[in-house]
Symmetry: C2
Subunit: 244 residues, 2 copies
Amino acid sequence: MKIDPKNRADLSAQIAKAIRDAIISGALPVDERLPSEAELADQFEVSRPTVREALKRLAAQSLIRTQRGATGGAFVNRLKFEDAYGQQITTSTLLLSMNEISFATACEARYALERACAPLSAERRTADHLATMRAETHRQQQPGLTDEAFCASDVAFHRALVDAAGNPVLSYQLAGAVEAMQPLMNMITFSARSREKIVALHTSIADAIEAQDAHAADAHLAALAAYTQELAQDVIAKRQAKRG
Amino acid sequence: MKIDPKNRADLSAQIAKAIRDAIISGALPVDERLPSEAELADQFEVSRPTVREALKRLAAQSLIRTQRGATGGAFVNRLKFEDAYGQQITTSTLLLSMNEISFATACEARYALERACAPLSAERRTADHLATMRAETHRQQQPGLTDEAFCASDVAFHRALVDAAGNPVLSYQLAGAVEAMQPLMNMITFSARSREKIVALHTSIADAIEAQDAHAADAHLAALAAYTQELAQDVIAKRQAKRG
DNA sequence: AGACGTTTAATTGTCTGACAAATGAAAATT
DNA sequence: AATTTTCATTTGTCAGACAATTAAACGTCT
C-alpha cells in the first residue's frame, strides 16, 4: 500500500485508491480493522485531514464503515446487495437524466433485461412472489391512484418478477434498470384506458409465471414493452404538437 | 439544501446527502459551479474540513469534479458511461467476492443478461463489432496464450457482442456483469480441448450475429453458458478430490 | 494600439494543533 | 461479586495558516 511520493497533488485520492486496491485484492479481508487515522497519517506521511478525506471517499462507496470510541476505527465493510442497490439506482438515474438517453433506449434496455429474467422466474417463482405480483396488480386497479403511486406499484410488480428468478446478482443488476426508469415513467400520464391495458398485461404475466409458462411470460412482456413505447410516443407527439 | 441542526454527528455525510439530493433533483444542473468551500462552510455553519469531507464523498461517486485556481471550484459533473462502468465493475466484483456468490449464480446471471442482448445485437451489429469479435476469436486460438490473456480476450469478445446491440444503457448494465466475472473465470484453467470448444462456440455466435440470426445466436450462447458451467463444475470437483 | 510579461486575487490542497464526543476497558468502590 | 467511576483510545469537528494553481487584471515594451 504505497503512494507516489513525488506527486503531492490529489493525495487523498491516491490514498483512497491504495486502500481500495488492498480491499479488492483481498489483502484487507472483511471486518479487518484499518490502522487508526493517526497511524495511517504516519504511514503515508500525510496529515490526518488528508487521511480522513481518503476514508470518506471509501465510505461513500460503502467499502468501509467507521465507529467511534476506544475500540473503534475504520473496518472493511462487507458490501451487501442492499447497499449496492442504492448506489446503482443513484448512478443509473443520473446516467439517464444527464446523458440525453431517449425514453426508447432506456425502455428497450429495461425490458430486454427483464425478459432475460422471465424464464428463470417462471421456473422458480414462490407463492410469496406471486402474492406480491397479485397484490400490486390489484392496487393498480384502485380508482383514486395517482400517477406516481401507479408507477411505484408498477416498479414493485416488476421487482417481484425479477426477484422471483431467485438470483441475487440478477436482482442487483435489474434494480438499477427498473428503478431508474421510474422518473421517466412518471412523466407519462396514464389514462384510465391505458391503465386498464397495463393491468391486463400484468395479470397475463402473473398468470404465465404462475403456470410456469416461460414462453407466454416472454410474449406478454414483449407486448408490455411495445405498449409502453407506444404510450411514450403519444406523449412526446402531443408535447411537440402543443409547442408547434 | 439544509441539514439537521440538532444532530451534529456525521455532518459531512448530511452535507453530502443534501448536495447529492440537489443534484439528483436537478436543482443543481450539470456544470453548475457549487459555492466555494468557504461559502459552503458558512451556509451549513460548519468548518471547511467538514465541507471538504462531504465534497470528497461526492467526488468518489463522480458526482462533482474540482478545479483549482481563481475560477476553480467544485462543479456538478456530467456522469459519463465511462465513469459509471468503473464504479459498477468495482461494486460488482466486490459483491461477488464478499458474499459467497457461487460461480453458478454469477454465471447464470451473466449469460441470462447476455442472451437478452443477442437479438438486438443480431439486428444492429456493424462491421466494426463483427471485426472485433472475429479478431478476438482469432487471438483465442494462439497457442502460447496464458489463461489470463484468454479470459481477457473472452471478455473483449463478449463486450463487443453486447456493444453491438447499440444500446449504451445495456452496455453499461452488462459491463458490471461481464467484467466482474473475469476474476472467477480466471480461476478456471482452460485445457487445450476446452479452449477449442469455446472458440468454436464463439465462432458460431459470431456467425449467427453476422447472419442476423437471433435464434441461432441465442442457442449458441445457451450452449456456451452450459459448457462454462460444466467446466466450472469439473474444476470444483477436482479441487474437492484433492482435498479429500 | 497591440503583444507580451507581471502581479494579484480567488480557490483548492494540505498541514498543525486543538477540543469534543463516544466507547470499551480497567480500576475503584460498595 | 456487582456496580460505578475513571481513563485511554479513537473518530468527529473546529480554527487558522500556508502552499500551489489558475485566470483575470495590470503594466510595459514595441
